[in-house]
Symmetry: C2
Subunit: 346 residues, 2 copies
C-alpha cells in the first residue's frame, strides 16, 4: 500500500493536453491575449473548468506578473485602516489582483523595511504604503523597485503617487466648530515628531499646523496651547494631565486622534470633570468606537473608503505605465459633531 500520491497540481500542460492544443494557446486564453479564436477560447476554458486548473503564481512571477498587490499596514490596531482597506479591495474586486496585507510594527522603521522587502522579493506587482514612518529616502527606494502609492504622507515625490486627507483643513474645521460653540481656550495634543526629514510630511504635524493656523486666523493666537505627547491612549492621558495643571485651564481639548481622546476622557473622569459640561473634547479619525453610545466623541472623518479607492486606482494606473507623472490626491475630511463638545461653562 503506497501512501496516496501527493496529487500533483494541474498545470498548463495538463490543460493543453486535455484540450488538445498547445500550452501557448492555453496561456493566451488565460491572459485574454491576442491570437486565439473564439472556438479555441471556449475549448480551452472548458478544459480548465473540467480539470479545475489554477495558474501557479510562482511560475507567473518568474516571468513577470504575480497579480498580487501588497498593502503595508504599520499598525493593524488602528481602527481607521479597515475603511481604507475596504476602499482598496472594493476597487480591486473585479480585477485579477489579489490583495495581501503585510503587518509592520508601530513606529518601527525596521519592521516596515522587512515587510516591504518581503513584498518586493515576492514580486508583487504594486505596493500601497499606509501611513508609513520610513524615511523619505527609503520610500523612494521602494518606489524605484516597484510601483507604489503612499497614503497619509504629505509631500510630493517624483516616483510615487500619494493620497492624503487634508489634515490642515480637518483641524481647522474642528477648531471652527469649537469656536462656534463659544470656546476660545482650546488646547491641542499632538504626536511628538523629532525626525526632521519626516516632520512636515506626517499627518500629526499637519493637524497641529491646521490648529495653529485656524487659531491665528480666528484671532486666538494668544490662546494657542499645544502639548506634545504621542498618538496613544497613554499619550492622551498624560497630555490631559498636563493641561489640567495649567493655571488657566482650557475649556476644550482637541486631541490629534480618537485614541488620544480616550486617554483624555479617562483623565478628565478621574479628575472629576464632566464632559462636555466642564470641558469639551474632540478627536480625529472618526474611528468605530467614536460612535459608540457611551463615548459619542466629536471627531473628524477622513474619507477612508475614498482614500483606499483612490490609492488602488492610482496604483493600477502606475502599474500600467510606470513612467506616468506622479499624482497627488488630497481629499476633504468632514466634521462629525457628537456629544463630547458643547458650549463652555459660563
Amino acid at each position: 500500500m503506497e501512501p496516496p500520491a501527493p496529487q500533483r497540481r494541474v498545470t498548463i500542460v495538463d490543460v493543453a493536453r486535455h484540450a488538445q492544443v498547445s500550452t501557448t494557446a492555453v496561456s493566451k486564453v488565460l491572459r485574454n491575449a491576442y491570437g486565439a479564436s473564439p472556438e479555441m477560447r471556449t475549448k480551452v476554458r472548458r478544459a480548465i473548468d473540467e480539470l479545475g486548473y489554477r495558474p501557479n503564481a510562482a511560475a507567473r512571477g518568474l516571468r513577470g506578473q504575480t497579480y498580487t498587490i501588497g498593502v503595508m499596514l504599520p499598525d493593524i490596531r488602528n481602527p481607521f485602516f479597515p475603511e481604507i482597506l475596504d476602499g482598496i479591495t472594493g476597487h480591486l474586486a473585479d480585477t485579477d489582483y489579489q490583495v495581501f496585507l503585510g503587518p509592520g510594527g508601530r513606529n518601527d522603521e525596521q519592521a516596515e523595511a522587512r515587510v516591504t522587502d518581503a513584498m518586493i522579493d515576492r514580486g508583487m506587482d504594486g505596493i500601497i504604503l499606509i501611513a508609513p514612518v520610513s524615511s523619505r529616502a527609503r520610500l523612494e527606494h521602494i518606489a524605484s523597485a516597484v510601483p507604489a502609492v503612499v497614503v497619509g504622507r504629505h509631500g510630493h515625490s517624483t516616483v510615487y503617487d500619494t493620497v492624503t486627507d487634508d489634515d490642515v483643513a480637518g483641524a481647522a474645521m474642528l477648531v471652527g466648530h469649537l469656536v462656534d460653540l463659544g470656546h476660545s481656550r482650546i488646547a491641542h495634543i499632538e504626536h511628538h515628531e523629532s525626525d526632521p526629514t519626516r516632520i512636515a510630511e506626517m499627518p500629526n504635524a499637519q493637524r497641529a499646523e491646521g490648529y495653529r493656523r485656524a487659531m491665528r486666523s480666528l484671532g486666538l493666537a494668544e490662546e494657542i496651547d499645544i502639548v506634545s505627547t504621542s498618538y496613544t491612549q497613554q499619550g492622551g492621558y498624560e497630555g490631559a494631565t498636563q493641561l489640567l495643571a495649567r493655571p488657566r485651564r482650557p475649556t476644550a481639548v482637541f486631541a490629534g486622534a480618537d485614541i488620544v481622546a480616550m486617554g483624555v476622557l479617562e483623565a478628565l473622569a478621574e479628575a472629576g470633570l464632566s464632559v462636555p459640561g466642564d470641558i469639551s473634547v474632540a478627536g480625529y479619525d472618526n474611528t468605530t468606537f467614536a460612535s459608540f453610545g457611551p463615548i459619542s466623541l466629536t471627531s473628524v472623518d477622513q474619507a477612508g473608503r475614498e482614500i483606499g479607492g483612490n490609492a488602488a486606482r492610482l496604483l493600477l494606473e502606475r502599474i500600467a505605465d510606470r513612467r506616468k507623472a506622479p499624482v497627488q490626491v488630497k481629499l476633504s475630511p468632514t466634521l462629525v459633531p457628537r456629544r463630547t463638545t458643547a458650549p463652555p461653562p459660563l
Copy 2:
C-alpha cells in the same frame, strides 16, 4: 540619452560569479545546506552582502518553499485579531518566514474561498485560518492542499490542527460572576447560526452553550433567556430592545461579544436605564475599547497572544512533518470585571 536601464535585480548567478563559485554553492550557503566548507560560506556571504542580493521568492516557490505564511482574516475590524496576530508574528520573528494577511469578508464563504485559493496558488508554505466561516469540507480541502491550522473552530479534524479558547468555560465564568453579584435574571444575546454543519463548531454556539449549562448548574434553568441576533452593534441594539420588552426584564445581559455589548449599551441609554445601576452588561473578547474609561466593560479575555503563538508553533511543526497527528489546543480565558456589572437593583 537612454532611459536608465530598469536595473536588473541581483541574482544568484551574479553572486556566484562575484564570489568565483558555482550557483549550487551559493544556494547551499543560503539554505545552510550540507556540503559547503566554512571558507566557502564566508566567501559567499561576503559576496551576498557586497551585492545586496536577495533571493527571488517566485523562483524559490517554483522549486518548493516560498517562506511565506498566510493568515486568513475574515473580518479585519474585529479588534480581537491583533492580539492573535502579535502571537503569530512574535513566534515567527526569528524564522525566515514572512507573514501575509489575506482579508476575507465578514461571514462570506466565497471571499474566504477566494483568499485561501489565492494563498495556495501563491505556494504559501502554510496557512492559519482565523475564525473561518467556511464549511468543514472546505476546510479539509484547504488543509489537504497546504499545511493548515484553524483558530476558533471547535471540532476535530484529521488533517488540520486547531487552536481554540474554551468558550464554554468563558461563558460559565461570566455567568458565575453575575450570579455572585446577586443576579438571577440573566439574559444572553447570541449570534444566530443556521448552517447545521457548522453549528456546534462556532464559538458563538459554544458561548451560548456555556451560558445554558452554567445557568442550569446554578439552579437557574428557569431563567434561561436567549435572544438570537448577530455579533454586531446592530445585533446588540436589537437584542436589547427585545429584552426590554419582556414582561419580566432581565437584570443582567451577557452579550456574546463586546461589539454586541456596545449596541446593548446604546439601547439601554436610549431607554433611560443606567448601567450598572438598573441593569448589568457584560461582553466577551476584552477588545481594546472595552477598557476605555467611558465604557469600562466587563468582559472575558481570550488569551489572544497565546492563541496566535500556539497556532504558529503547530503550523511550523506541521510544515516540518505533514503527516504528524493533528493536535487540538484549547486555552483558558480569564474574566475581566469592570464597571458595567454590579449587584442588581433591590
